[in-house]
């Protein structure tokens, strides 16, 4: 994401030969691939959105018009979800960015003991299912919560459902986005600039205020907008925790699944889409161009830790508190999964896990199957698109890039509604099939893979590929033998990312699951709706276990510790190999 920001600037400054000059016309294979990709993007990205828009304009008498919107917005209780969503998003964006910045500063600019541990814990929320924070929050602060009921004995009348709870949970869930963006930005700032300021007599605080902070401003703006988008799109947490603080993503879902009001749901989806797209375009075309930081690919020698003792102490305490809170939430969910009935009966039991594996075994099986099919398709397609966008010159290149990135900004709820509207009738009848779920996974999870592929490709001198062509290799061979091995780290981190997203997805997928194909996150949702928190927690623990094993397996495949040879290209772990893709909407 950070390289993603720097890219636009680099592009502006150096328009010279980013791509091979050979025109696509000379290469029928490339041409064919481009056409195929364009068609599938039209079909699975644009067409569903178009269907949402069309349905929202379908008035009850069958004519086309704004009647549905007028009807919706006429009633004040219908206007509230929009205001609520935006307010929640703004609060989460600001608090999350502040926390993310502090954490990024502490881990990149201050030398701390256990900083590796802090970084890992900060990444937890990115690889866990969306509900888990809410579950833990209810377990701790709900009506029967450990803190509210057991510790405080109901002395304070505290309601966690609503804005307060949501803001807490989403801040914890999304501050890692800010952390990643900003630690990238801070790392890219040459430390010698700060040294120069110190050398000229500035104190730590003056350096921070006059140098570090101003240089990070574009990154901060990006982080704000990205978290805002994530919060708007959040479905998993509000459905558990929103109480009567209604937000758009949930209202659109309820309108369709509860009231069977397709037009109304579609209209709410469009209303949800508007602020998300605005934030996305502001980020992409405005903020990212303001960046001062150019990522050279050569991080100038990381020198940290010449700070006053009080700065280091403060940073350490902050990191400790933050990781402590995150661990408290995860620990609560973990412990809770072994309890008979949280809040009432704290007896140890394995019944919840028994249920997960016996009764809901099918959910796990289907989830694994669908994710395992979707993940490699996503990864390979993303790399091909990244390659074409960066290295080939053809009509509509920018449109193709933008379209493939679009689902990054479109809330899952909108996509889900689009899919049921677009693919529930001939000519493309996909409802109820495995295909619709796999396709949804692929096109939802692809943008981040494309982004990290683009970033990786731009680190590679185009003449390396030209040299290959020059020596007699055609486009396909060059891609296989030269480009692919060089972007392997980005490819594998894209694989991990898309697998994680598959097994933790809920907001879009909840619309397209069927009796035939069951997904584990939907099972969690069921448990939550039955108020069986312990059961839901057990599901979440199993999901996290799946995610961790997948990361382990892919890391193993990349490292191949059993094979020792000179050709083990990727030198980084699949996660550290490309942190950018870990940002996206659920």
């Amino acid at each position: 994401m950070v390289r993603f920001l720097a890219r636009f600037e680099a592009e502006l400054k150096r328009p010279l030969r980013r791509r091979q000059g050979s025109t696509v016309m000379q290469e029928p294979l490339v041409m064919l691939v481009i056409v195929a990709i364009a068609i599938s993007l039209l079909l699975f990205v644009i067409y569903p959105l178009y269907s949402v828009l069309k349905t929202s304009l379908m008035q009850s008498d069958g004519s086309i018009g704004l009647g549905v919107y007028r009807g919706l917005l006429a009633k004040s209780y219908n206007r509230r979800p929009l205001a609520n969503s935006v307010r929640l998003g703004a609060i989460v964006a600001v608090v999350g960015t502040v926390i993310g910045f502090i954490f990024a500063y502490c881990t990149t600019r201050v030398s701390l003991p256990f900083s590796g541990f802090f970084k890992v814990v900060a990444m937890f929320p990115m690889i866990s299912p969306p509900f888990i924070m809410s579950l833990a929050t209810i377990m701790l602060f709900g009506n029967n919560g450990l803190i509210t009921k057991q510790l405080l004995r109901g002395m304070v009348n505290f309601r966690i459902y609503g804005l307060r709870g949501l803001a807490l949970v989403e801040t914890l869930a999304y501050f890692p986005t800010a952390y990643l963006v900003l630690s990238g930005v801070l790392q890219a700032i040459d430390p010698s600039i700060e040294d120069a300021a110190r050398d000229l007599g500035a104190s730590w605080w003056q350096v921070f205020r006059t140098v570090t902070l101003p240089l990070a401003i574009p990154g901060i703006a990006s982080a704000l907008l990205l978290i805002f988008i994530e919060s708007l799109a959040d479905f998993g947490n509000p459905i558990v925790l929103s109480g009567d603080y209604q937000v758009l993503a949930v209202q659109a879902y309820l309108r369709i699944t509860g009231l069977y009001d397709l037009s109304g749901g579609a209209a709410l989806a469009v209303i949800l889409l508007v602020p998300s797209l605005i934030a996305f375009f502001v980020q992409k075309y405005w903020v990212s161009r303001k960046s001062y930081v150019t990522v050279t690919g050569k991080p100038s020698g990381q020198r940290v830790g010449r700070n006053e003792p009080w700065v280091r102490t403060a940073a350490f305490v902050i990191c400790l508190i933050l990781t402590g809170v995150i661990l408290l939430f995860y620990g609560t969910a973990f412990v809770g999964s072994f309890m008979t009935l949280w809040g009432v009966n704290y007896d140890f039991t394995l019944a919840n896990y028994h249920h997960v594996f016996q009764v809901a075994g099918e959910y796990i099986k289907d989830t694994l199957f669908l994710s395992t099919v979707a993940t490699p398709i996503t990864g390979i397609l993303a790399m091909i698109i990244a390659f074409i966008v960066v290295r080939k010159e053809f009509f509509g290149r920018q449109a193709l890039e933008l379209t493939s990135m679009l689902s990054f900004a479109v809330p899952g709820t909108v996509v889900g509604i689009g899919y049921i509207l677009a693919f529930n009738q001939p000519p493309i009848l996909l409802t109820g099939t495995a295909a619709i779920i796999i396709i949804l996974f692929v096109f939802r999870n692809m943008p981040t893979g494309i982004q990290s592929g683009i970033a990786a490709l731009q680190q590679i001198d185009p003449s390396i590929e030209e040299a290959s062509c020059d020596l007699g290799a055609d486009s396909g061979t060059t891609f296989r033998k030269i480009t692919l091995p060089l972007i392997a780290p980005a490819f594998f981190s894209g694989l991990v990312f898309s697998f994680v997203r598959c097994v933790t997805a809920i907001s879009a997928i909840v619309f397209v699951v069927s009796g035939r194909w069951k997904l584990i996150t939907v099972a969690v949702l069921g448990s939550v709706e039955n108020s069986d928190l312990a059961q839901a927690a057990a599901f979440c623990v199993v999901i996290i276990a799946m995610v961790l094993s997948a990361i382990g397996i892919i890391n193993l495949l990349v490292y191949q510790p059993w094979k020792r040879g000179p050709h083990r290209a990727p030198k980084e772990s699949v996660i550290s190999g490309g942190t950018e893709p870990w940002i996206g909407t659920a």
Binding site: S463, D470, P566
Partner: protein, 370 residues
């Protein structure tokens, strides 16, 4: 053979005219060139004059907007790079970082589907040609700049291209290595009798290794000829100014034409020069005065009086900036140990070595002066 190894006919390259968001850039503006078998031709010119673009069009990485490119008499405009019998040495070397030195060199042979035996033999031979025996299994990242450069050269040579393309291949090396490598490149090129196009902005490099030099400016060729031609007999003011360390232009008027000589009035002296075509009696001309064509002599002697503005001692030579009747002129005197040396402010005499001075018709606003 009645055709040339490489031939460019009125080649034009305009960038960005299809992208509507940028103004078109005319990178190459009608270039014609011919290379015979075994010749090394250098494209020389200031940065941005279109050298790289020209080379990349021959390699197939850019498609000419107009004009034709021929290889061995066949038009190759529409042949994609991987089907062209050219091989390029890139400025950045562009070594494949994930392959060993051997695999880098063998890459082009593998693409030509050779059997493993000849691949190994040829790759090893190419590596020994550039002096890299024993480095086969190293990763490119572990090599020094000079070694990487050699790998890049071997990788291009090994496929035995019809024409070798080199784009500022030495610009990333330090000065000493650069001087050494250019001799080596030239020796290998001559030994293999390999037709080559070489791009550089370094005139010393160009003169020391080329058969012919094409001096370029603003996408056009200003002059094409042997190193002696472009240095000693520049075709115009741009070439005269671009070649050589420091060139001063002195105005003059042709007084008389006399066999192989012509007499030109410069300031208040009349001096004999080698006669050039296109000038007649009475014409305004410009003298191309290189620093080595100026001699500094004790005051009272020489053609003109002058005063030293600045003196710099280099050991093997001394360089003076001299005021010649209001014009600043640079003189370079070799081996100053054998000569008188002059201090700043000294009054001196100035002598012009007329055999080293070329005369150009005077051009005012693109028109030859009457």
């Amino acid at each position: 053979m009645d055709w040339y190894s490489v031939e460019l006919i009125d080649v034009v390259k305009i960038f960005g005219h299809r992208d509507t968001d940028r103004d078109p850039i005319v990178a190459v503006d009608g270039i014609s060139l011919r290379l015979i078998q075994g010749e090394l031709l250098t494209l020389l010119g200031p940065s941005g004059c279109g050298k790289t673009t020209t080379l990349r069009m021959v390699g197939g990485f850019e498609t000419p907007t107009a004009g034709r490119i021929l290889l061995d008499g066949k038009v190759i405009n529409d042949v994609p790079p991987h089907r062209r019998d050219t091989a390029m040495v890139f400025q950045s070397y562009a070594l494949f970082p994930h392959l060993t030195v051997f695999e880098n060199v063998a890459y082009g042979l593998r693409m030509r589907k050779m059997d493993i035996g000849s691949i190994t033999a040829k790759a090893r031979h190419a590596l020994s040609l550039v002096g890299l025996e024993g480095m086969e299994e190293r990763q490119p990242g572990s090599l020094s700049g000079g070694q990487q450069q050699r790998v890049a050269l071997a990788r291009a040579l090994v496929v035995e291209p019809k024409v070798l393309l080199l784009d500022e291949p030495l610009s990333n090396l330090d000065a000493r290595l650069r001087a050494q490598m250019r001799i080596e490149i030239r020796k290998i090129q001559q030994a293999l009798n390999m037709t080559s196009m070489y791009v550089t902005h370094d005139q010393e490099e160009a003169m020391s290794l080329s058969d012919r030099i094409a001096v370029m400016n603003h996408g056009r060729i200003e002059q094409i000829g042997t190193p002696q031609d472009v240095y000693a007999r520049p075709a115009n003011r741009f070439v005269a100014d671009f070649m050589g360390k420091k060139t001063t232009f002195l105005d003059g008027t042709v007084m008389t034409l006399d066999g192989n000589l012509m007499h030109v009035k410069v300031m208040d002296a009349v001096l004999p020069f080698e006669r050039v075509s296109d000038v007649t009696t009475g014409d305004e001309v410009e003298l191309v005065v290189r620093s080595e064509a100026v001699d500094i002599v004790p005051p009272g002697k020489g053609t003109f009086p002058g005063r030293i503005i600045h003196a710099a001692y280099f050991g093997s030579q001394v360089s003076y900036e001299v005021d010649l009747l209001g014009t600043s002129i640079t003189a370079e005197i070799p081996n100053p140990q054998e000569r008188d040396m002059f201090m700043r402010g000294s009054e001196v005499g100035i002598e012009l070595k007329t055999r080293s001075i070329h005369v150009l018709p005077k051009v005012i606003d693109g028109q030859v002066a009457e």
